[in-house]
Symmetry: D2
């Protein structure tokens, strides 16, 4: 940490800062300039937090210089991680050597619709099935998901198609039930800073797909992952899904740079959700191509057998015809990037 | 709702839209222009949602023209509401005729600190006490609050000072306990879209202080209020606390226009949190003045007897000396705006 | 300046940084920590810029710690400045002791409309007249202003009403002509970073009203003022007019905190434009009140005798009826804030 | 255009709107609903603009439903355009069938540095040379470019390397001189809304590279292109270079979705600037890959023989070693996307 003193700071102010830092067992190095002094701190970041350095007299600004996350940081874990998803006899990897295509309906509406969507997904090359049983909706009057019934459908469709299943959990009270039905738990964008929920999925024993908050910085996203990791669960996959900006043409702005940045800062795998980022189906294929080319470890896409009747996010779901173009991109581009197909690498152990 | 067809839309496309709308019992009025057609819809908004109008062939854009919220809308409730906070024998109003000053420590750290802060608050003119027992923190390594012990302290300090108490609740499992200790429940900015929590406080029987999400539009904020209202609780106070923008000098950008706008769109009271918006104590007094002058129904401010040792948000907490200036603004300006002091209007019933 | 080295930086890397800094005549103080080193730099900021410190091997981040602007900074000029606008025999102040109300039509459309608008402005208490002869419009098909004819109208209406005139200049080639017709030159939000234009008005001999870019940080705004000041013109008034955010209800988000912040960082006067910030006339009065209460040195407001026929920004122009409410706020609130009416303080010299 | 009346609008209000619309020769279709009326307008958009429909009594909102730009719109020009850059005997295409790699130094500092950078660019596969002679800098104390001397260097290096040259113009008074030295004029992000400059380059007779304003919507960007086109110049290439958001890790957020969106809305070619978007050289290669895969018609990249001494934007300039990786991406990926190398397609006519 570096403390910059204001030009008006006195020697007493500087001495007081040094004294406070040393009271926690830290060390303080003072460099006096023509106009002002700079104090470099060495020691335990956590203990410095409690000092409220910014409130001390004469302090102008405080700069943090090391990552505030530890378990998920790449600093002490330079090798990028692979997360394996699925039952012991069929585990699908998400990581640096493979490309993983996840697809399925935004919301589970019925067994028939889910089976159709899962078949669409599988035939396009998906190796994991997504589907929502609990839907966080902006309007209390919108469809909120089938709940446990939806989980049962997902489990049975996952078994019949051989695709491990990922689904969103929105309430701490549901974590156990959801974890007992599916293979991977998703934390949605609106819950990225729901710290109680993060801690709960950190204890669930299942891998977690952590979407970036639409208003969150990359650092806050990694801090959210740290909450999960701190409870003993390091099977975390990060998912970039767009941030909120002033541009009105798309629902959110896909922050494609966040993929290589998160991979540099953290050892966790990073995938992209082009469907929710754009909110329009005509962008799903080009954004999937961009995601693969930028180095993402996978994508997660909405598909629906009949978007016209979808109860949730119909406008962004791909139909069979669009899906063929997507399937081609997913077959061709990861190879160019030196990646193996996750399905081919899936393992039984 | 208004549907704008693309120039390439055929008569069949138009007929299909009309047919879908009429299938829900709605009416569709088609206006054909030189380049394209416009279809006006009359009927039940909710049923139109399920049509996925944007996915129909030939549809270019869909414009919603009525408010998506109902219970909190001012459209059917033109009179602005007053919310009363506190025990039956001492209820403090928040509403259009009064100005309510809420103050207290960001986090409850000990009985002594809370008593001191409450006395500071009261002597500066506060009529409600704020204080946090559960703190949502970006870092899992930061102080997370005293929990139930903090609630006990708040209850006892509230009783001894005669100030009704508002505190934040962050987990659905805590709502009942928190509601049994304090007079008003706060939903923080990170939980504005935690829909399960909104529904739970909607059933708590206590008034709710709903902070705007730092990334939320005014419409989404009112939709969140609608979630609470839908469970039968209309004792909701909205709190503007800044939104996330590109400007780095302040922690967030106080959206002062949101106060008159929310008051125009909704009948609920609207207050301002200048401490968290700016994140710097030198702005608390000017922003409080601006809030009063723009027409806010109250403000909520962080105070701490010793910011240097505060376990949370020390840099923005006011000391006794700054507080005098604040107290003066709060005594003087609301009168100019034609408002009564909430304390003087508090009632026993 | 403070340089934070990466944990992987070697002693050679550190030595190379020190050597580069010393090559410019600066001093470098190295603090070695457990994980990494910090280097504090003392010397001429400008010469450090040419070092591209961020490209040196082993450098993690570079933190600037002093203001990049000088002439407009309050650091070496603690007294806040007053700018006087108008001919020698009638100069109106904008500064810390007064409150200055500027009003007029967004665009000059005709002599009649401008006279009417100027009378509306004067009767509501305005002491300076605004009006646009050159309009920067997003669409090339929109009304672009009357040009020189508009300047002639402004000059004659200014003379007949006794109100000094401020008008926008958008092209470097027009600066001389505009400066010969009016009393103050306005740089609009879209031209805040048009550095050639800033330099030109810096040589014009007339005071400048510098609007904040809708996408500019406060620091960039002060740097733009520095461009003007550098050419010898320190008669600069800053104008906050809203920034671009995700909130769609208002055209821009008025950053009310920018007023006290700019006044803390710079000695220049700061006013507010509530008309363009919100883009809706129902917010002009509450935002004007907020501006006065937060400590602004003035406001600039659109008025039009007949908004229904306005060629530019009709929806935000105030009619006579709304104007009465504004006039009352402008008469009453500045007094509460300890400010004199600028008109009463205008001087002849 | 669609006008939505407020629920409180009277029949007289509706009749007044219809009358105003018909006074311009337009047609108005009224649909009355249970709560409110909707009025669809058919006719000339420009004439409706002068009506200030939003100010009419009873009007709630006004929705525009056709593109505000015409000449650059794809609506009446479905075929995507190719722009040819360079002297008659060596014209390089930028368009839908090719991929064009543009590279060079951010700023021209000397003949030697420019020759070295041009050679680096050419050896990595670039077919156009970029380089700045006029630099718009946030600080008046930063290097502002060599001006005419820089143009002379660019011309001579362009001739000696056989690469057509693109350079930025920042002042209307320089357009003619710049156009006489180089093959393509660049409008930088800060000047996207400098309408006088847009009109001037529209008359220059040279193709124009139009960067998106860092705070501009896609629609505003296309309106800026319309300003150029309106002066008779349709040789415009759009360049996405990142927008300003809350994310601090990168200088700007590359809006990768803007590429396919702009290509859908306009027939003009669209390229990407990964160097300025990110402001960090470690992202240039992944973002270039993403740009190619999303369907961009080219990229423009900063290179410098010695970033450590660069007078401008050193931290983002690629060195020879990084450039090899970029060269490989540029050779390999466009082929996968079905694109030809622009150099191979360059024509003499």
């Amino acid at each position: 940490m570096v403390i910059v003193m204001s030009p008006a700071a006195t020697d007493e102010d500087i001495a007081h800062v040094v004294e406070r830092v040393e009271s926690t067992g830290g060390q303080a190095f003072v460099s006096k300039g023509v106009n002002r002094a700079i104090i470099g701190l060495i020691g335990d970041l956590e203990s410095f937090h409690h000092l409220n350095l910014r409130t001390l007299r004469g302090v102008a600004t405080v700069h943090r210089i090391s990552d505030p996350y530890k378990l998920v940081s790449r600093q002490h874990h330079p090798q990028r991680s692979t997360v394996w998803v699925g039952p012991a006899d069929h585990q699908v990897p998400i990581g640096p050597d493979t490309f993983t295509f996840i697809a399925g309906p935004c919301a589970v509406e019925s067994a028939e619709q889910t089976v159709s969507a899962a078949r669409m997904a599988a035939s396009a090359g998906a190796t994991l099935l997504r589907g929502g049983a609990y839907k966080p909706r902006t309007s209390p009057y919108a469809f909120q998901g089938l709940g446990v019934e939806g989980l049962e459908i997902l489990r049975s469709v996952g078994l019949s198609t051989g695709l491990p299943v990922v689904t969103e959990v929105v309430d701490v009270r549901d974590v156990e039930t959801v974890a007992s039905h599916v293979d991977m738990l998703q934390i949605g964008t609106r819950n990225m800073a729901n710290f109680g929920l993060l801690q709960e999925v950190g204890q669930s024993g299942k891998p977690v797909l952590l979407k970036r908050g639409m208003n969150s910085t990359i650092e806050e996203w990694l801090m959210a992952a740290e909450y999960i990791a701190q409870r003993g669960n390091l099977d975390i996959v990060l998912c970039e899904r767009g941030i909120r900006t002033f541009e009105p043409t798309t629902r959110n702005t896909l922050d494609i740079s966040a993929v290589p940045l998160a991979q540099t800062l953290s050892h966790l795998p990073v995938i992209v959700d082009p469907s929710h980022a754009a909110g329009r189906k005509d962008l799903v294929v080009p954004l999937t191509r961009a995601a693969i080319a930028v180095g993402a470890d996978g994508v997660i896409v909405d598909v629906h057998p009949d978007p016209e009747t979808a109860l949730c996010d119909g406008p962004q779901a791909l139909l069979g015809s669009d899906l063929r173009e997507l399937a081609q991109a997913v077959r061709q581009l990861p190879k160019v990037m030196g990646r193996h197909d996750a399905g081919a690498v899936a393992r039984a152990r």
